[in-house]
Amino acid sequence: MTKNRSIQISNDNKRSPQKSPMVDRFLEGWSVYKESLIGKIGLTLLVIFALMALCSFFPPMIDPMYHPMTGVDPQISHSTSPSWRHWLGTDFIGRDILCQLLAGARIAFMVGISAAFMSILLGTTVGMIAGYSGKIVDTLLMRLADMIMVMPTLLVVLILSSLFGQLNIWTIVLLIALFRWPGVSRVIRAQTLSLKERPFIEAAKVTGASHFRIIFRHIMPNVLPLSLLYMTFRVTSAIIIEAALAFLGFGDPSTVSWGMMLQWVWKTGHMFQAPYWLLPPGICISLLTLSFYMLGRAMEEVLDPRLRKEVAQE
């Protein structure tokens, strides 16, 4: 009897292990992303800011007077306009503005990304659990989300800091995360609801997988792209909130952020006298948030169903 040639399949490519869909999708996504003008501009700006953040470590090493908080120029003790010594000038006690700007970039990234990351973590988990469980759990979680969503983040944080005194930067990050997760949870919940009915989830159920396993092993990889997308939008709001807090005087006084710089300009009465001091932080806040936003918009194009891949035929 001949061997079952009828069901043999010849091996078509003796390639080494295939790229995982994460990598594959990333590369495909990248080639679509590249075509978006907004995406390219956003990414370029981001790279510039990232470099700024990295460079913030160097000036203090060159000369202690370049330290953003404590680096006071022995020869200058007031605000001066840009010069060779201080490329953007100095602030009211003689500290270098450019270094402060670079340090601010570092803080902005840190705050933005950590707050966004934490709120996405929380939001995605809640969204998946709500979407998958349905009924009471879903209702409770979503009502909780609604309540938190309608609270004005900035106001609450202001109240808290006026009650408890100056807040540490990490506390601020935590608070932003705690107030911003509902938005992403709604979207993830919707995505989970539609995934729940898909055959591969039913197959997992029939296999005997526990609810926990289904949520975190089966559903999660499918919602992560959406989570990442929302993370970019969260970064924008986190940066702005932190800047606003610092500007109003509720930030962490031991960190130099752009908002803090604006506060100093304002408080020391240099608003209209020192444009070299006023403009850079303001422009940086706007540009950084704009670039994250552009990144998000371009990513949206990538995540569109038009990227459904096509397959070999038999």
């Binding site: 292990p17 295939q18 898909r198 029939v206 296999t207 997988a209 499918n222 070999a312």
Partner: protein, 269 residues
């Protein structure tokens, strides 16, 4: 080879009704009676065909057996034990013995799981084997569906494979724990007609080798004839005819069965 003394799955007066909710477009909530007092015995070792059109209740029957749905009335017995309302640990033990192959190979595999991940999932869920023995079991399963050499397929992903290959992976996944009973829900309806027969041959071979019992759900009498020992014809939630495959097709007694036979494209050549 069916053993008349050994009924593996028994449905006793099973009924199931679906209620649609009221909505803007569809008006008042409607009730759809999917199954009306169905009773059925499936014997160990046979391939049992359930033939019907869409809306007949055939898919619902399959889903009830694998406990993706609960019946509204009636009892479901597996190997003599009442499993109608089992939960928890008993349910997990049941799931190890009863598996399902879904209709849509493009949706029944997790796109983020490699072939190895998908096929080994049942092993992981039931804590069977360690990483080395699991690889061997997955290899054996992939070999049995004709995906050879199996190691070449381990790290491929569904989107890199054709519909027929994906369905074979789904079969490999269902069989890796060597279950006793498998529901195959229209396994070839989303595949080309020329591929269908290869899939049936795979199922037939697996059945002979492992003595698994299959419930083969289909809308095609010809497929049921090719693959099955016994057939039941289902229409609007009721079993209208049941018996050995060839008998039903040569001597249909119910008018609906006759209509199905007449409607089949005839090969005049």
């Amino acid at each position: 080879m069916k053993d008349p003394n050994n009924v593996i799955i028994k449905l006793e007066n099973i009924s199931k009704t679906f209620r649609t909710r009221a909505s803007l477009f569809k008006g008042d909530p409607k009730e759809v009676i999917a199954l009306k007092q169905i009773s059925l015995n499936i014997y160990r070792g046979e391939i049992f065909g359930l033939v019907g059109e869409s809306g007949s209740g055939k898919t619902t029957t399959g889903r009830l057996i694998v406990k993706l749905e609960e019946p509204d009335e009636g009892k479901l017995l597996f190997d003599g034990n009442d499993i109608t309302k089992i939960k928890g640990k008993a349910l997990k033990i049941f799931r190890r013995k009863v598996q399902m192959i879904f209709q849509d190979p493009y949706q029944s595999l997790n796109p983020y799981f490699s072939v190895y991940d998908s096929v080994s999932e049942p092993l992981v869920v039931h804590s069977v084997g360690n990483s080395k023995t699991r690889k061997d079991m997955v290899r054996e399963s992939l070999n049995s569906v004709g995906l050879t050499p199996p190691d070449d397929f381990f790290y491929r992903y569904p989107h890199q494979m054709s519909g027929g290959q994906r369905q074979r992976i789904a079969i490999a996944r269902a069989m890796v724990l060597k279950p006793e009973f498998v529901v195959a829900d229209e396994p070839t309806s989303m595949l080309d007609a020329s591929i269908a027969i290869h899939i049936f041959n795979i199922l037939s071979r697996i059945q002979k080798k492992l003595n698994v019992t299959f419930l083969f759900i289909t809308h095609s009498l010809a497929a049921a004839r090719y693959l099955c020992d016994r057939i039941a014809v289902i229409y609007h939630g009721e079993l209208v005819e049941i018996g050995p495959a060839e008998n039903i097709i040569q001597n249909p007694s119910h008018p609906y069965t006759r209509a199905l036979i007449d409607a089949h494209p005839r090969f005049r050549f």
